[in-house]
């Protein structure tokens, strides 16, 4: 096992860790606006780390260039999509979660 395989395994394992953290954040966080952080930032970082690990494993070929294209596309579009969805929720009037609502599950995700 060469040095590139070790770097690839470290990057891919780190990316899987961030993917798990983002998925747990989608369950644990209290309202939609904070869940958008878990999806828009952490998942994008996880995908970038995993694909960079695959690029290191693949070497300098046409496939690694295409993988870097996927990285560029996802890094542009995943936060953009999350931003558009959050903007739609804000314009609809979705109420954000405040600290004084703690324990009051009915107020989560209600209308303004």
């Amino acid at each position: 096992m060469g040095i590139s395989a070790i770097i690839a395994i470290i990057l891919i394992s780190l990316g899987t860790f961030f993917m798990a953290v983002g998925s747990i954040g989608l369950i644990r966080l209290p309202d939609f606006y904070s869940r958008a952080h878990a999806q828009g930032k952490v998942d994008t970082l996880a995908l970038i780390l995993i694909i960079l690990g695959l690029v290191v494993l693949e070497g300098f070929t046409l496939n690694s260039v295409k993988l870097l294209l996927i990285v560029a596309f996802v890094a542009l579009t995943n936060p953009t999509g999350t931003n558009a969805l959050t903007n739609a929720a804000y314009r609809f009037g979705l109420r954000p979660w405040f600290k004084r609502d703690r324990g009051d599950r009915k107020k989560r995700g209600g209308r303004k």
Binding site: M19, L54, F73, A88, F92, L94
Partner: protein, 94 residues
Amino acid sequence: MHQYFVYLAVLLTIIIYVPFYRVVTGPTLYDRMLCAGSIATNSMVIILLVGFMFNRIDMFIDITMAYAGLNFIGTIAFAKYLGSTLKSKKNHGN
């Protein structure tokens, strides 16, 4: 390395069920769409790992690119639709 990819694909398949819970029991419609995007991101990684397992990465990369584009277009269309036309409906979500 092949064995590592198999374990990783199984782990990511287990991780997919965590946002799937939020898709099923989300309080609002936006939560469901957000977690569907998270599932799509997970699936792109699994498709790439399957491509590395089968040594056919040149074919699976194109599938992943198409999947990323479809995910983005779906999210944008959903946000546009909900932001423009559903303002008058009272009881959507919650």
